[in-house]
Structures are given as structure tokens and as C-alpha cells.
């Protein structure tokens, strides 16, 4: 099961966070700092999976952006690793520019893909369908 998903830049600032299990707002900052510390300082040739407390962290780097997913031990790390890539590909397909100011849309995309900590949709067209419909409505 997926516990949380973070997007962090190279400086360690959180760009997006989504929790699938309740964590207090106060504790989130600590958790994020720990997680970032655990992932950012790893070398390229090292394994993309890190253990943190009773979670496993799966991280993937895209230029200056890190995406870190916290999962439970029984989850398949490699499939999550690829899920991250799938997510990025969807973002790529939708956004042509920076996503920073479209946080709400990223959330909508994420909600289509992961629900309650489980992967629910990976088909790119279907992920984007609701969002595109919303856009169309907003235009008209």
C-alpha cells in the first residue's frame, strides 16, 4: 500500500505532498525532512529503495525534481518505481511548462491514479480525460 507521495526539489523543499494515511500536520514536516535527507544524499549508482522506519521509500529523480513514495513492506517496489515514471509521463503529456502553479491540477491527476493508497488507473488517456473535460468547460 502507498502511504504518501512527495515531490521535492533539490534544495529539499516540498513541492507537493499527498498522504494516504492520516499524519498530523506538525509531524508531516519532520517526516518530510527525514525522508528528503534519506533520499537526496544517495548516489546515482545506489539502490532507489530506502528503508525508513517501517516504510520503504521509493524515489526517482527527474532533473532537479525528486519524487518519493512511501510504501509498506508488502508492496512491490519496482512497480511503484515504474508508477512514478508513469505519473511523470502523464504530467509531461498534460503540461507543457512548469507545473508549480498548477498544483490543483497535479492533485486531480494524482487522485485519478492513486486512491486510498492503491493504484487505480494507469492508462494515460483515461487519467487525463476528466481534467481535459474540465478544461473544456472552463473555456466555454
Amino acid at each position: 500500500m502507498i502511504k504518501f507521495l512527495l515531490m521535492v526539489n533539490k534544495q529539499g523543499q516540498t513541492r507537493l505532498s499527498k498522504y494516504y494515511e492520516h499524519v498530523d500536520i506538525g509531524k508531516r514536516a519532520v517526516l518530510e525532512a527525514d525522508v528528503v535527507k534519506g533520499c537526496l544524499f544517495r548516489k546515482k549508482e545506489e539502490c532507489s529503495f530506502v528503508e525508513y522506519k517501517d516504510y520503504k521509500l521509493v524515489y526517482r529523480q527527474y532533473a532537479a525534481l525528486f519524487i518519493v513514495v512511501g510504501i509498506t513492506d508488502n508492496e512491490n517496489e519496482l512497480s511503484i518505481y515504474e508508477l512514478v515514471h508513469n505519473f511523470v509521463e502523464v504530467l509531461d503529456k498534460y503540461f507543457s511548462r512548469v507545473i508549480m502553479f498548477n498544483l490543483d491540477k497535479v492533485h486531480i491527476i494524482l487522485d485519478e491514479m492513486i486512491l486510498n493508497g492503491h493504484v487505480v488507473e494507469t492508462n494515460k488517456n483515461r487519467i487525463l480525460a476528466p481534467l481535459l473535460a474540465l478544461d473544456k468547460m472552463a473555456e466555454s
Partner: protein
Amino acid sequence: MRELMVRAMYCEMLGYEADFVYIHAIKLAQQGTVLEKRVGISIFLKQNMYYLQDLQSTNLIEVCMALTVVSQIFPKDMIPAILPLVEEKLSHPKEIIRRKAVLALYKFYLIAPNQVQHIHGKFRKALCDKDPGVMMSSLHIYLQMIKENPASYKDLTGSFVTILRQVVGGKLPLDFNYHSVPAPWLQIQLLRILSLLGREDQSMSELMYDVLDESLRRAEMNHNITYAILYECVKAIYTIHPKAELLEKAARCIGNFVLSPKINLKYLGLKALTYVVQHDANLALQHQMTIIECLDHSDLIIKRETLELLFRITNAQNVTIIVEKMLGFLRLCNDDYTIIDLVGKVAELAEKYPFTIWFIQTMNVVFSLGGDLMQPDLPSNFLRLFADGSESEEQDRQLKLYAVDSYLAVLKGDCSHLPQRFLQVISWVLGEYSCLKEDVDQQEVIRLLKKLLEQRGVSSETRSWALSALTKLCKGPGYAELALELAESLSSSLDTVLRQQAHELCLLSQDSQLHARVLPHPAPSDNLEVDSSLSFLDGFVSDALAAGAAPYKPPHQRQEELSQQRALSLEPYGLSLPVTMSSCTLTDRQSPTFLSMSSDLSVLCVCSANTLMLEGVKRVWGKDGYIPQKEPSLTPAAVDEPSDVVQSPDQQGAAETSLPEPEPEPPQLDQEKQQLASSLFVGLGSQNSMSLLGKTEVAVPRFRRKARQHESASTSGTSESSSNSSHSSRSTTDSFLYGGLLEEEPATPIQNSYHTLNSTSENEGAATVSAKEDKQANSSQILGKSIVSQRNCSKSLPVAFPHSSDSMVLQLPSELQELPHSDVVSLTSDPHLSVSCCRVFREDALLLVLLLFNPTETALRDVAVELSCEEPLMLNTEEYGKLWLSISNDVKQNLKLLTGGGDPLRATLNALKDSLQLHIVDIIGSEGIVACHLLRGGPCLMHCRVHGASLAVWLRSPLPSLPDCLLYHCQRALQEH
């Protein structure tokens, strides 16, 4: 506005409170366009009122959004309102709506499984939906349901296999492909479901072999996602009923993983291998060289995973080397969480194969590395193992000497950096066993302990350990001076425990006889008797009460009273009034605590089905404290019980022979590794590949030894006592709750009793039953629990039966007739047997006399009497609710949850139900309600909620002390589990 919302969301994400925006978000959600609405809701998922109108909307997108939000966060109590709307959407023409509706139902299932029970048929329809997306979402529900109860979904195996075959065969539309692999996550999901269904079920597994084989074959592309599928496949193959051909292929797959240069794959391979070696340890042999390489890998994560793998393949022969590797890793690592985990594992391994010097060495390293982070039960486990010792006296002695030596050496050095736990262990061992060593001057040991006591930075807990060690050592007149000095320096200590101990030390060192009695040597390790009811304080309490002191109230009662004082009392006064003293009917007991417990007694009288018997309970605490206990005569039984051998001699020998380390003499690195490999994987051959499983069980008997010994004693006792009669029948009286009520009495009565009923066979008319109360069997039966007594005072009470079978008048045995007693009450009867009972009030006990009467011609054989004064109360949820409100006595407490295997709440409640005869009214999500009542007495309701790792229990009953009793028994029952 939307922009502002997004910014607010960002603020909150960074950890700042942004509550003030919520109201605006709600406004936005109400007024804005669909996109704005979505933003408003999705950011602050706190308000849920808008779904209703949105769900009824004709606008597709609005419905879609509403469903998405519903399936994220939803309040449980709103489900009934919204369920019909969602159900309706299941047959919507648009696939996306159907899909979202299924996901919303999944969410409902997660938070309240019983509320969607009636629509299981619709799940099946969703599974067969023509759109793959809808089918996919329904798999989430099925995975969850199958996880909870695989047996009831076996009929769907065929469908899942067909779906997987279609997916693997590429029958899905192209846009489901990810890097030209057809719907990989769907495949993974299906494989998980199949492995759950096929576990330990050959016929189901046979359905799957083909499709698993096909998945293995298809997934031979070089891409991460195919490896992820392969991993899941391998796991499935090893979970279901094995098939040699597939196992071979899977093993080859794992080989590819482990050998891969890609580090992520290597990690996954190790993880798969760890999973697989539990079924087939030989597989590790094939990859030993790779594993050795991984062990020296620069990446700590890989190393860690390798150690995990090694942990699983440990046996008696390779344990030393594996533990050494783990300790090496421990020294490198600085993450608390990992340390705790690893320390626990090392200790587990070391305890499994104990009793060599190596064990002591390992544990020493564990204590110094793990320090104060480790689980608190580790040191005490170690000490218990240590005290129990090994089978051979001589070896045992040497080992203890070794430990004493090594600890003395540790203390002589600088011990300021050592963890407190280690110091505590050292103190205990020195206090207990340093006298084994003749050539060491006791003065030296005492000096070192004193140094420890006075050292700075030592916690007061450690100080008290050291001080009690000193107390043990300071015997004889030579030490009086030292004791006095210590006592003086500590008598001004801020810590009251230390002060008390110093005082004790002072007194004990002056009186060597008392010393020998209080601290016998060697310490009886596990049969100390503790009188938990503190009856020896009765006199003190009654004096205090006579002097006008307030009677004791349990904490919760005090709290309740406090809160009642503070708040307005809304309850009618009558219900919460303190119990009147007048209900005490027993005259010959003077205990003041008894008076305060009289409410229990009234309960007791209502049930009137048990006895207080005191002579079975040994008095451990006398007027002047602990009464030293005579060595139980049962000790020899422990020695000649061969099943207790913790480690068979040949295994032990093997462990020792593998002790010599592989010397790194040969210059070639390879050879060194070969050697390491041979020592690591020794004993993993086919003949003892199961040693893992065998080993885990070995350590257990060590702790059970005493209990078993008593059991054997008890059976022999009963057989002896019944050997003289032709027919013996044994009846077990089981009255736990009752006993609990009584147990709060100062002197603990025996709750379970064995009656050996001897009936003569050729008996015309009425049988003369002599009820023999076998106290020995009786007491030893509860030995396994906590109250201990070993006095054998069996006596037989002949019961006189009138020979007229039609009149049911029964008489008490003559010696009891003079005592005050109640009327003989007939409990139950049928044509074959009638049961009556009578209470007899003796000076020191309340006896319950059970009269069994057999009016027929046939002889009595095997009468099993099971007494219970508490039984399940059959209620439904509604009645429960009404009753709950009408009762006012509350007790709240946290119990521990049973873990392992399915839903912890359900498991815990079932355990309680089985052992305490409760009725589980309902379980909703993380809450459960339970009811029971006393026979002819009041009900007790229990409300349980899972709270983190514990179970928060809230009990209510009109009888003030029933909840306490029940709670106590719940705790006991859970502990025993």
C-alpha cells in the same frame, strides 16, 4: 479566487496552519464552476455536504468529481444516505462513472464492510463489466475481500485466471499498455489475488499453473516493469501449491534478478530470495557467491537486505558467522530504527542456540551496541535464560564463571560509556553468581559495584540494580560496616526506592539469618509466590480504618467521583451510590478490605455457585513479611524430562565445530569468499533444510518447563487418588469470572477445582458418591497461571445420600452439617442426574458443596461438571444501545490487541469470546461491542475500539465491580493467548 486557494494549499503543505481558508474553500465549492468546485473540495476535504446534490446532477463531470471525492475521504455515518445514489451509478452508461462508483463502493467497503454487504452481487457484475477499467477497479474490492476470507471466493478463481490470460495475451486496448507491456499493474493485482486464492489449495493452484507459466514466458522483455511482474509471479508461484516445473522456472528468474548488474533488480532479487528460502533453503546455496558479494556491497540497503536473507537461513551450524556479520553491520549503522530491529534479531538468533560461551559474548556485544534502544524484554529474557542454565551442571558453572569474569573485566575498565541496560545486567549477574568464583575476593566485586553505584551519569534505575546486587553480596558480619556506610550515604538520596533499598541493606547485613531467608541462594528463579491480594496487610488496613482512615477506592472510582464533583451530575443518584456495607453476610471474616468489596459479595451471593477454599492456597506472606518457601518436592521432575533438552548434543557439537573462523590466509580474494560461503551456507543441504522451522520451536520449552512439570504432577495426583475406585470420573469446575470476583478478596480462593468423583459400580438404587476434593490436583492446575500452591491437603468428604430416589432430599456430610450453611438448592435435574449445591461457611473458607445425584440403576461414568456463573448475553445492537444508556458505572482501560493473522480486533474479541464466554454483538470497522451477564445477575456491556496498537475498552454494568473483574479477566485471557 482559485489561485488563492492553490496558494493556501501550498502553505498548508509546507506545514503552516491554514484553517482560515476552509470557509472560503467551502464557499468556492458551492458557488464556483466545476473546476473551482473541484479545487475547493479537494484541497480541504472536510465538508461533505455537497455530494448529495452533485451526485444527482445531470452533468457528467460534476457527478464524476463528486464520486472521486467520495472515494477519498468519507464519513462513515453518511454512507446510508449516499449509498443508493452510488449504487444507481453502477449501471450508468458511461464507463468512467461506473468506474468511479465502484471505487466509491471500495471506499465504503474499507470503512464499513457490513454496510455494503448486500451489494456483493453488484461487485460481481462490475467484475464482468465489458469495460476493463471498471473490472480493474472492482479488483481492489476483491483483493481486500479475498485477503480477509479467501475460502468464500474460490469459485471466482476461474474468472481471475481468464482475465489474467486475456491481459497477458494482449487482448486489452492499446492505450492500456505501458512501454508496450499490457496493463502491468493490473497483472500485478491479479497475481496477488491468485496467490491468495491458491495458497494451500491444490485444486485452485492447478487452475493457475498454465497462466503463471505464460506470464513468466511473456515477461521476458528487458524493462523494469516486466521485472516487477516477474517478481510478483515468482512470489505467487512460491505461495501456491508447488509444482516442480514452475518452481524451477521461478528459481531461474530469481537467479537473473540477483545476478543483474542493475542495483534495483538485485535488491528485488534479494527480497524475492528472502521470501523463497522460507520454502526452499537450497535456493540460497545456488546463489551463495552472489550473496557474499552483496554482503560486501557498498550500498547499506543491499547489505541490510542480505542480512535479512541470512537471518532466514540461519541454522545451528552457521549461526555464529551470520551473527558476526550482523554485529559488524550494527557497528556501522547509526539509524535507531535499524539498530532496534537488528539487535532484536541477533538476540533472537543467539537465544535460539544458546548455552555456549559464544552466547554470552554475543549478548555482551548486543548489549553494548544496542544499548538503551533495544526492546526492554531483551535483558530480562537473557537473564532468565542465564539463570535457567544449561543441562549439565559443570558446563553451566563454567559458563557463569566466564560471565562473571568478563563482567568484572568490563567493570574494571572505564564503564562510563556503557549503556544502562548493560550495567544492569552486569550488576545482576555479579550479585547472583560472583560467589561461584572462589578465587575472586568478594571485596573486589563489592568495590567495583560500589564504584558503579557512585559513578556519575548512572541512572537511578541502574543504581538500584547495583544496590540490590550489593545487598545480595553483603552477608556475614564482615560487611556490616560497609553496609552502614552505604546506607548512610544513600539515606539522603532523592530517590525513594534507593533510600528504601539502602535501609533494607542496612538491616539485612546485621542479621545474617534474615538475609539467608530473604535472599536464599541460589535464588529460586521461577517459583516465587506472590500474594497479589496483599492479605498480610489486612491488619494494618483494619487498624487504619479503625483510626478513621478513608477506605481505599480504585483509581477510576476516584476519578469518577472527582469528575462528578466538578461537573453537573446528570445521572439519577440511586445508581451511583456506594455499596452498602450491610450486604455482607459472612460473619467470620474480619478483613476490612472485604467490607469494601462487599459489592462483589452481593454479586457472589446472587450467583451462589462457588466456594472459597483457603487451605489450598499457601500463605506466602506472613505477619512479618515473606515466609520462606520450602523447596518444592517436584524439582526432580524437571531433570529427567528429556523433551526439555534445548539443544541436542550433536547440534551443539556442530555449533562448536563451526566456531573457528575462516582464516584469511590464502591471498586470493575468491578463496576467502569461498570459505566464507562454505561457513555461511553450511547445513543448508537437503537433509536439514527444514532446520529453520524446527529451531524456532526449540526455545519455547525452556520457559514452559515448570508449568509442564506441574501438569504432570497434577495428572499423577489425580490418577493416584482415583486408582482405588473402579470408576473414576473427573469433573472440571470452571468458574473463571466467579473466581475473579473472589480474587479481590484478601485471601485468594481457588477458582478451578478438580473433583474426583468416585462412584461404586455395583450399586443398587442410589449411588453413594464420595466427593473427593483433590486439592493437589486443584492447585497444580492453576499453577500454570499465577497463583501457586503446592500443599497437598486432599481430604474426602463422604456425602450421604438417602436411599429414596423419589424424594430429592439431600444431606450434607456430617462434619459439615454443624457448620452454618445455606439450604441445599437444586440447580438442575433430569431423569438421569440431578445437581444440587449448598454453601457452607467455615471459619477460614466458604465451601461450595456440589451434590450429584444419580437416581437410575446405572453407574456414573465420566461426569463432567462445568460451572460458569457468567454467560453470553444475547442482544442486538439496538437493545445494546438502550441498555448502554441506562447504565452508569463506567470503567475505561486499554488492553493490548492480539496481533498476527487477520483483523486484530476480530481476533482479540474472538479470543475473549472463547475464553470468557462473551457475546459479540457487533463489530463495525474498528469498533466492537460485546455483552455478557452474570447468571441471575446484572449485565455487563463492553465497548471496544482499536486505538493504535491497543484496544480501548469501555465497560458499563449496574454492578459496580463487575467491570473491574471482567477487565481483569480480559487482561488475563489476552496474556495467556
